[in-house]
């Protein structure tokens, strides 16, 4: 049995994109290759931007971790090992508002100033959300703004191996349990999101956000639980 390293409870917005395949592939170490989603609401996505508001991260002993709270954006590439076909998600870059989370265990996080405004208005079964997140560093930043009508979320559990782009040997297993509400999906024809604006002006990601990228799907995650495990 593998011991839990930490657990995280948070809320998220996940934006899946289709970006330049060569620009993604050249970042990956051999023999990993980009593996975009083949089907479903995220079909065609090969880059994931995850905006997280961490409510509490606890260490293995249940105590608040140094990075117990956070407001962050993380950029991920879904991949597969060309020889073994093992899937893994490479963590490419993270922007964090918590000084104790930079550079982080995966060595990819930079410290930013963060601002978020979220308004939820609901009456009976209808809920409308506006969300605006700004993460700003000296050399650029990330901005997400959207408005959406919330739907009935789907409870989903999954497990992922996450590896660092700067050192694939830095790897952990994430076991997640979440409520996922896909508010926009081009492949599935879901269009409950409006006024979506995603601006990524982070110099190391410039070739991924060169204007040719397109949003494939957006998922609101109002409830998220993750257990982080060491890789055997």
């Amino acid at each position: 049995m593998v011991a839990s390293l930490n657990v995280t409870r948070d809320t998220k917005v996940q934006v899946r994109l289709h970006a330049s395949l060569p620009a993604l592939q050249r970042r990956l170490p051999h023999p990993w290759i980009v593996a975009s989603s083949a089907q479903g609401p995220h079909a065609g996505a090969n880059l994931i931007a995850v905006f997280s508001e961490v409510l509490l991260r606890q260490d293995a002993g249940g105590r608040p971790a140094p990075n117990a709270v956070d407001l962050s954006a993380t950029f991920l590439i879904p991949t597969v090992h060309a020889e073994t076909q093992d899937p893994a998600t490479f963590i490419l870059r993270a922007l964090t508002a918590n000084p104790d989370a930079a550079p982080g265990w995966f060595r990819v996080a930079t410290l930013v100033s963060a601002w978020r405004a979220r308004t939820m208005t609901g009456e009976d079964q209808h809920t409308m959300v506006t969300d605006e997140i700004l993460l700003h560093a000296a050399d650029g930043g990330v901005e997400l703004r959207l408005e959406y009508d919330a739907g009935v979320p789907v409870r989903t559990q999954w497990s992922t191996t996450v590896r660092s782009i700067v050192n694939p040997g830095l790897a952990r297993i994430y076991r997640s349990d979440a409520l996922v509400d896909v508010v926009y999906s081009a492949p599935a024809g879901v269009a409950r999101a409006r006024d979506v604006r995603l601006n990524v002006a982070v110099p190391p990601l410039r070739d991924l956000f060169d204007g040719t990228e397109r949003v494939v799907s957006i998922a609101a995650v109002p409830w998220f639980f993750r257990e982080e495990l060491a890789l055997d």
Binding site: L55, G62, A97, R116, T121, G122, Q125, L179, P222, W223
Partner: protein, 233 residues
Amino acid sequence: MATSGSAPVLDSTIAERILLGFQVRPEVLQSRLPAPWRVGSTPAGANLVVIFNEVFLNQDAGGAPAPDATTRYLGVVVPGRHPDTREEASINLRIFAAHPQAIPGKYRTSLPAVVRREQRLVSEGLAPTVEEHCTVRVSEGEEIDLRLRYTRGAVTHVPTRSRGRSSADPAVLRVYHVDQLAYTVRDASKGVDHVLDFAFRATVAELSDLFDGAERLVTIVASPWYSRRVYSE
């Protein structure tokens, strides 16, 4: 299917909640409890708890979305104690629920209401300021209205187990296994008070003896991350 000992899970809920703990005249509470239950109190000294629930997902025993999968409701409960068995349970007096499929509900105490909630959360760095405005309209002129603003600090992981019984039929028992994050906005017993603005008004006729001006707010607890499984025993 998950079980608690030999008891199967009845249902599960993932939500966000605000709890208000009041001290009200015990005699008016006692008159509402089924015999032989006695009025108790929470660790913070409240003998009446009002809970605003924003339900992201209700699931049935098999994990499928329940008929009232997403909803919002307000619960009114009294911490109770059975003098013979020494059982402690939250006695559900009333629920005002937005979803028609939640009537009369598992405790058989639910009435329909129009439930409105507006939440605004602004984070500058890592400490958000939260504004809440919840309105439960039971009928024309009968409302429960909460306005609350506070700056949220470090939340605490508070797993709990508790028992709920119905004032309409105390044989109805629901055993809660809760995993939640909680932030104590106010606890008069500990001198904690992070409230920036607060207003509460209840003009519902059937609650008029509970909120007659003599009630005293003692606790406010916000739970921005809440998950529970409910068992039959």
